[in-house]
Amino acid sequence: MVIRERTTARSQVGESRGSFPDALPAAEARVRELIAGRHSKAALEAAKDLHKCYATPGSEGLLVEAYEARIRDLLRHGMSIEAKSLLDLVIQRFPSARARLEEVLFEVRMNEGNLDAWVAPLQDPNLAPAVRERIETAIRQRVFDLPALSQASSLLPTHSLREGAAVLIAALKAVTSAPVGEADLVLPQVSRRGPLASWKALVNAIATFHRRDDATCRMWLQAIAPDSVPARLVPAIQVMLGSATAPVLNFAAQKLVAATGAGGETLRSALASLESAMAAKRRPPILQKARAAVSACERFGPDLREKLRQYISIRCMVLGFAPDSVRDAIGGSPRKDARWFHLVAKAMEGTFESFEDLADALIAWEAFRERALEEKLFTANTVEDGVLSLHMAELAARIPADVADDLLSLVYRRNSPLSKGGLTPQRLFSPAALYERACASDPHSDAFQSWLVWAKKQRDWRVADRVAESWHQACGKDVAPLLWLMESSEKRSAYQKSLKYLEHAEQLDRLNPEVRKAKLRLLLAGVLRHFRQGKPHLASQGIERIEASAELDGSLAALVSALRRVCAALDKDSDAVNRHAAEVEARLGSCVAAYVLHQGIADAAVLAPEEIWLDPLDMKSYDGVTLLKGLAKACVLGDSVGMPLAIPEKWEDRLSSSLRASDPALHTAELLVLGEAAIRSQASGLAFALSVAGMACGGADARFLFLRARALPPWASERRYDCLSAALELARRERNTDLAGKLLDELRCCPSNMFAPDDFLAEVGPGGYSMEPGFLNEILASERAEKQFPVPSRNLPASDGSDEVDTFRDENDFADFEDIPANMPPELARELTKAIARGAKPEEILKGILPGTSGAAELEDLFGLLVPELLREVKKAMALGAAPDEILAEMEDVLRGGDSRKGQFPRGAQKKENPRAGRPEQGSLF
């Protein structure tokens, strides 16, 4: 192109030779066109030819212009030596052109790096303004070597440039080494309009950056001329200020940012922006911001990049984004290491909406374990392994067994990260397997305790016994497993075994309060058993053992006297009866308490009041407060010795009305113990009234809300749930972990909840039990205001058109059944409640409960459902030899038509009741 142009230009010049005056303008234009097109060599050749031809001032001027362009081209290509040589030649050949070539001369000198030569003209006070401006512009745009400027020998030491440069050197060193105040950076030696003004703005910007005065820093950055040398630092400083639109920095700038440690601001800014986008939950901005955040992290925190990608990936997974889109935004799939699965597991736990999420969490935890072992975060069968397995076991325990079976099939259908080395899905969802692994890895009391708590909830008693045995083998000095085994043996009537465990526990820790309490309870159970068997002499021996084993305070001494009274009654020794009765009254300080205690002993021993010569208490002789206080005293004693007492028959209404009528001045502890007794006795109205009194006192709202919740009828399931949730929130605030545990158990197995757990999973999940303060206060205010026991609304839904009578439209039917579910196994209670709501008939329900086959096992299952009086009758019947089938048939008859509390049961072979005759122990719980 250039050769062609040159040839064309020459030919054009040659053609024009013959007629110059006409052809010159065209030739000039041609040369200028070449100069503008940066074809300086062609332009120069053409200009030379033109000047050879015409040799006019015009052609000379054009030639000089072409030379100038050529020299600039050479400079542009870094050929400064050639440029200088050519310039010298031109000046030599065309001295008149020197003035015109001043600028290019200056550029040549600048390229030589000869700063002295650059600035030398500035020493001339008569220097042309244009030249001065050109030089100062060049200084502003090109001089980065302040020391060289401050030492420029072509300027006097007092020249403003030298002084200014020196001051700036010192200031730059100062602001990059330590905090410098604003007053110290006035720098009067540096003019605001001079070529070094941008340097002054720069040192102030750096000083304010370190002072964290970002707004002022930005102002100083704006004062820096964009074409100046200091402007090269502006992008880096903007990044360090956390600019949202961080420019790409060169290597030196990146090093500076990393060295100052201020790159984090940009990263934090990008992350905050991403967080805002995630709060809005719109996908395109989230993915865009994610991309920017990862990019910022790559620049200013490369060691955090992988972690950030994992976190972003998890957050997007929770938001439901497709993995592909996230992968594209964050530059690929995140690393699936231990931390990844840790995050997944926690995310699944945290966003619990269904049991499937818990299952996913378990799978993730197991995968975490495998990766953690590979990465050597911890070793197998160590404390850490045990802690992890325990956590997994507690998680698995929240999944109902029937749901776990369904989840298994789901796991098999999906791609699971489980490898062959880990637990199989069956064992992964098995709390027993996980607890076993936890306790094998890290055998300690807390883990076994947790396992035992779970095992106790299983229907098969052998599960808990096996756990206790394992515990005892692993931690031989713990008494807790022995106490459980003792209690379990006692329940199965294995008394010798029970005593053996007790002895073992005593050998380990005789002074342990739990051991002493258990011993007392076991001995008392023995005495009661002997009472029931009509063996007062053996009972008397048992009483002596009680006296010998315990330090008898007032209430325990009263218990001993009460037991002796019963012995005396069975022995028909009226004097002894009266004497011991007086002792009981004296030691308890209350006739009411004495009566309740005696009644409780009779109930526990399955004896009728008349058998122990116990006359009914004349309630009219006592005011309500006396009755309540006496009852409370007796219940406290009963609870302390493991013999929970019931509210005597027909006392409920009187006590409830006493509570409603006036302030009974009962302590919180008394109200609570009465409340538990009322719940045990299925006296819901009384329990409710006690909760009203308790909440009026204030101070124990959590426990009274718990009481209130259990007192509510089954159909008030939502209100019950609210009370339990509110109580749980209060218990958490009080750090009352025992109460919180009971509340959680109640919430998870809410027998009065008409719906299956799946229906309210979002609420019954672990995160869903927390309560907003406003809602909590609403519930508290609402419950405090409620003084009356709730009754069902008369406006029940219309029937389905059937002619059958809706059996449960009658409140009495509700009353008959409302207290049964409270003691029923949760699954059964749920079905029962649903059936009631559907309007099923009692006999249908009963047939559903009793599967059609009868026997001792089915009858024993019902023991927990029956009111104490009925239970006593059933046990008596069994003790007298009645067959379970007969008893069940009689119960059905009673439920069908009569009052269940007054039903009479078959006696089997008719025998005269002889308290002293031996009774078979079949089917007895004692």
Partner: protein, 101 residues
């Protein structure tokens, strides 16, 4: 398991990393004791002591590690809680940028 009344992460209280060893934890504890002796800073001393008691228990420490991670925590607090200091690095790194066009 021993319950902790710590309101702050015990690691933050003692100033130790997530993967700190027993020796590092103990060293940090002793260091904090010098800063907050019980007679002069009783509240801080108690917090430091509780944090140490918590972390020296290997079970509690690992359990805390398992449950304290929050994948849904704000990203700017997870990743941006590091040092926001602006170090003084001297004039050379600044001048190095100026030398590049």
């Amino acid at each position: 398991m021993q319950k902790s009344n710590l309101s702050l992460d015990p690691r933050i209280v003692l100033g130790v990393a997530e993967d700190a060893t027993d020796e590092q934890i103990r060293a940090a504890y002793l260091n904090k004791l010098k800063q907050f002796p019980p007679d002069r800073s009783p509240a801080e001393f108690e917090q430091v002591r509780d944090a140490y008691e918590f972390l020296r228990d290997r079970r509690q420490r690992f359990r805390h590690f398992l449950i304290s991670i929050d994948p849904l925590a704000p990203l700017d607090t997870v990743f941006g809680s590091g040092s926001s200091e602006r170090k003084f690095v001297g004039p050379e790194p600044w001048l190095a940028v100026l030398k590049e066009k």
